[in-house]
């Protein structure tokens, strides 16, 4: 099995290298047959990698402990689901998984566009194959997931218990889809530079791919946060850990890119800028993988092996400098079609938004690599903590929120101040009213007050866009409001989908502000019958209960929860979990208490309970948090998914007309995908 797997990887490497060479040369020399054979090699690499992945999964399922990776990342006592997810539980396997996803993207793009974009596609396939070759070289020479042990252990070491939960089963693949997904727009951009076809064609071709990758990155960031919140048990969802930051960085530049391409599509401006953003996004995604795998920055996420750091760095150098040189070659051809006409215009607002996103990227990147910088300059590793990131990024994100509101209001090309003031009146009043109400409700911290009322302002702008559009349609066509709203969205899905995303972001922003500004914390050591108090809840400790199976031992603290009127709300059960395979890592199972009868636990705040320690004498050390509005972050993420789906959904107006293959396309037929 191991040999077969390794052979598949070696052959996949050969195919990918051939695909890259054949597509490049074939296209350069105008030999369609060579290009076609390169295309087949792309498919071959995809097939071989699929085979390798299936073989490794199979090895996990049959406990083939002769394979080192299987022995080190699974054991006989693991449930089947986690045996499968062990595939990406360690270094070599996750690298294989990453490469496989990349090969699937390459295969999909090469197949779906086989008859379209004839000038771009061979280059796109070539660039994707080059990227794939790099990972395959790593797999073949430096991190072979099919490496054999000289003996067959009786049992494996087991998967890190932190990774044994449903969230962790989904989180890495999802994040990888995002990281790897940005390869597609990047590859198209490089293809545009290589071929000299620099119109907005590559942007249109990749719009959905970019949205898809961006969606997965968004999900990666939020699911990662939610996982940390629910599983790690420290009461927070974002720790500014270098690896978390690394997943956030391409999201930031990706978001900027999504906005700047709108300007290119509408006004033919910001072309160089787009290229820079997508180059940056791709390389930041690779940088994220590099940080996790090289051990260059200490992080809770790091894999222990670090031998592939230099190879990764070499690839970053190659792809970054290579992409930039390609861009410089075409720099003059990427001149904008228009100049910025007025400072008060949508174009300018987009540019400002882009600069702010880039500012946030730079600040976070700076904090991320500061330990390396300080070590290089002063010989001491100085780590930058959460306070730095919070202080630097909070104002930038506030500014982004405000620009988001203004940007939706301002018109393309130019806007007069008086009309802007007119349209600002409503939303700004809403913000002010919100500030007053919040003040009366006891929200007195200036940053929280400012942030939350800004959210209301931007929310009002967004809702007004929907309201006015629907109203206008209703008046014009006499459609009922619900129909008018639906048709409004259907008529311009990218725009209104984007606005829905904005609503999600606003909700999440409010959640972040609320939980950051108003978290409460209490800790107590309780004997049976003793109670502690936090934020209007009374928690009475009723002793431990224990659960044991062949895999683990679970110690639960039983807590009766009462509200401040003394009404019984229910039982909370924070727990400690000991996996026998990894006794060094006891797990904290936080309990986020919810009671139907107490609406604030459903909508406004989390009562978050952790069992810190259980003493043999029967006392429990408990930590309790009140985390306001955390739920809103997850709800925001759901709305964001919905909005992205609306924006990416094939539009009714471009319902596909089936054209027989080979038939000439009618002029003006939709080429958008």
């Amino acid at each position: 099995m191991a040999d077969l797997g390794y052979i598949a990887i070696v052959l996949a490497m050969a195919s990918a290298l051939y695909a890259a060479a054949a597509c490049l040369w074939g296209q350069r020399r105008g030999e369609p047959q060579l290009v076609a054979s390169g295309r087949n090699a792309v498919f071959a690499a995809g097939g071989l990698l699929t085979l390798a992945v299936l073989l490794l999964v199979y090895s996990f399922l049959v406990h083939d402990f002769q394979i080192r990776y299987v022995a080190e990342n699974s054991s006989r006592h693991m449930p089947t689901l986690y045996l499968i997810t062990s595939l990406w539980g360690g270094h070599a396997g996750s690298l294989l998984f990453w490469t496989w996803i990349l090969s699937m993207f390459a295969t999909a793009v090469t197949y779906l566009y086989r008859d379209r974009h004839p000038a771009l596609l061979p280059y796109t396939s070539a660039v994707l194959s080059i990227a794939q070759s790099f990972f395959l070289i790593l797999l073949v020479f430096l991190a072979n997931p099919f490496e054999k042990l000289p003996f067959i252990p009786g049992d494996g070491l087991g998967l890190n218990p932190l990774l044994q939960n449903l969230g962790m089963a989904i989180h890495p693949p999802n994040l990888y889809l995002g990281y790897v997904g940005v390869s597609v727009p990047w590859a198209f951009a490089m293809a545009a530079l290589l071929s000299g076809k620099l119109d907005a064609g590559w942007i249109r071709a990749t719009r959905r791919w970019t949205l898809l990758a961006w969606l997965f990155l968004s999900l990666g960031v939020t699911l990662g946060g939610q996982w940390a919140y629910v599983e790690l048990g420290w009461g927070g969802y974002w720790g500014w850990d270098p690896v978390e930051n690394s997943s956030f960085l391409p999201w930031l530049t990706g978001t900027a890119f999504l906005h700047s391409v709108i300007v290119t599509e509408r006004r033919g401006m910001l072309k160089v800028w787009n290229m820079l953003l997508i180059i940056l996004t791709y390389n930041l995604a690779i940088f994220g993988a590099f940080v996790t795998r090289s051990g260059i920055i200490d992080s809770v996420h790091s894999f222990t092996e670090s031998s592939i750091g230099p190879a990764f760095l070499a690839y970053i150098a190659l792809s970054l400098i290579g992409s930039l040189l390609l861009l410089f070659r075409r720099w003059d051809q990427l001149r904008g079609d228009h100049q910025l006409e007025a400072i008060l215009s949508k174009e300018a607002a987009f540019l400002l938004n882009n600069l702010l996103f880039l500012g946030a990227t730079f600040a976070i990147f700076w904090g991320n690599i500061f330990p390396i910088l300080s070590e290089a300059v002063r010989g001491v590793k100085v780590t930058v903590g959460a306070p730095f990131f919070n202080q630097v990024s909070a104002p930038i994100f506030l500014a982004i929120l405000i620009t988001m509101g203004l940007g939706m209001l301002i018109a393309w090309r130019r806007q007069t101040i008086s009309s802007l003031v007119r349209s600002l009146r409503g939303p700004v009043s809403a913000g002010i009213v919100a500030a007053i109400v919040l003040w009366l409700m006891g929200v007195r911290l200036p940053p929280a007050l400012l942030g939350l009322s800004t959210c209301v302002f931007v929310g009002a702008v967004t809702v007004r866009e929907f309201y006015q559009g629907t109203l206008a349609r209703h008046r014009l066509t006499g459609e009922p409001y619900s129909v008018a709203l639906r048709k409004l969205i259907a008529r311009n899905q990218p725009r209104y989908g984007g606005y829905i995303v904005h609503l999600g972001v606003i909700l999440a922003a409010a959640g972040i502000i609320g939980s950051q500004a108003y978290q409460q914390e209490a800790q107590a050591v309780l004997g049976p019958g003793q109670a502690m108090q936090i934020g209007g809840y009374r928690l009475v400790f009723q002793g431990f209960s224990e659960l044991r199976n062949e895999n683990l031992q679970l110690i639960r603290a039983n807590l009766d929860v009462y509200n401040d009127q003394g009404r019984y709300l229910g039982r909370a059960e924070p727990a400690k979990e000991l996996h026998f395979v990894r006794p060094d890592q006891p797990m904290t199972e936080a309990d986020i208490f919810r009671a139907i009868g107490e609406p604030r636990t459903l909508f406004l705040e989390d009562l978050y309970l952790i069992l810190v320690a259980a003493s043999p004498e029967g006392t429990a050390t408990l930590r309790a948090f009140i985390n306001p509005l955390v739920n809103w972050i997850w709800m925001g993420a759901l709305i964001l998914i919905a909005g992205t789906a609306v924006a990416a959904w094939p539009e009714a107006s471009e319902a596909r007309v089936r054209v027989p293959r080979g038939a000439p396309q009618p002029a003006g037929s939709p080429t958008r995908f």
Binding site: A71, L149, P150, F151, P153, G154, D155, L157, V272, L276, F290, S294, G295, I296, I297, S306, S307, G309, P310, L313, I316, A317, L320, I321, L324, F328, W331, D332, R335, Q339, I369, I372, L373, E375, A376, V581, P583, D584
Partner: protein, 179 residues
């Protein structure tokens, strides 16, 4: 990109800046990697040390070349070390005649407590105090217990900064014996 100035074209300036930034960044990351590189313990020759044993002898790591060596850092005050001690002793008895040497290194401890610990668990492989924590520093341990497996060529084959399970200990020894 817009107008051409007589001195430096803005285009050249922008491109130069971007390239310089990219190159600087890559250099920085390379520096970071190289600063990190010599720190790797696993895969490199095991740092040499001389340990004065509790029973008066001296053990020198290089003198054990040709054997598989298991170096265990422990302390009498360390809870997990108590769980680990019987496992280590059992394995030592099972493998002492097969070219495997165990060395216990007592980290930040007091001698009477260390003796009591060793008596309690009948620890009879070479053991000694790490005076001035020199060896601990050479091996960059972050706590106790930690265990290093040294192969017959004197290289560190594996490092576990955690209490060993029976299975982990045995499979590592077997791995090095068959290598």
């Amino acid at each position: 990109m817009v107008a051409t100035s007589p001195w430096v074209r803005p285009r050249t300036l922008a491109q130069g800046l971007i390239l310089a930034l990219a190159a600087g960044l890559i250099t920085l990351l390379a520096l970071g990697l190289s600063a990190r590189a010599p720190k790797a313990i696993v895969g490199n020759p095991a740092p040499e040390f001389e340990l004065e044993l509790f029973d008066g002898g001296v053990v020198r790591l290089s003198a054990l070349r040709g054997n598989v060596v298991v170096i265990n850092f422990w302390a009498s005050w360390c809870g997990p070390c108590r769980d680990e001690a019987p496992i280590l002793v059992d394995a030592w008895h099972a493998y002492r005649d097969r070219g495997v040497v165990f060395i216990g290194i007592d980290y930040v401890d007091t001698e009477p407590e260390a003796h009591a610990f060793m008596q309690e668990f009948a620890v009879d492989y070479p053991n000694g105090p790490d005076k001035g924590q020199r060896i601990a520093r050479q091996y960059q341990i972050t706590g106790v217990p930690e265990t290093f497996f040294i192969d017959r060529q004197g290289r560190v084959a594996a490092h576990y900064p955690l209490p060993l399970t029976r299975h982990l200990l045995i499979s590592n020894i077997e791995l090095l014996l068959t290598a």
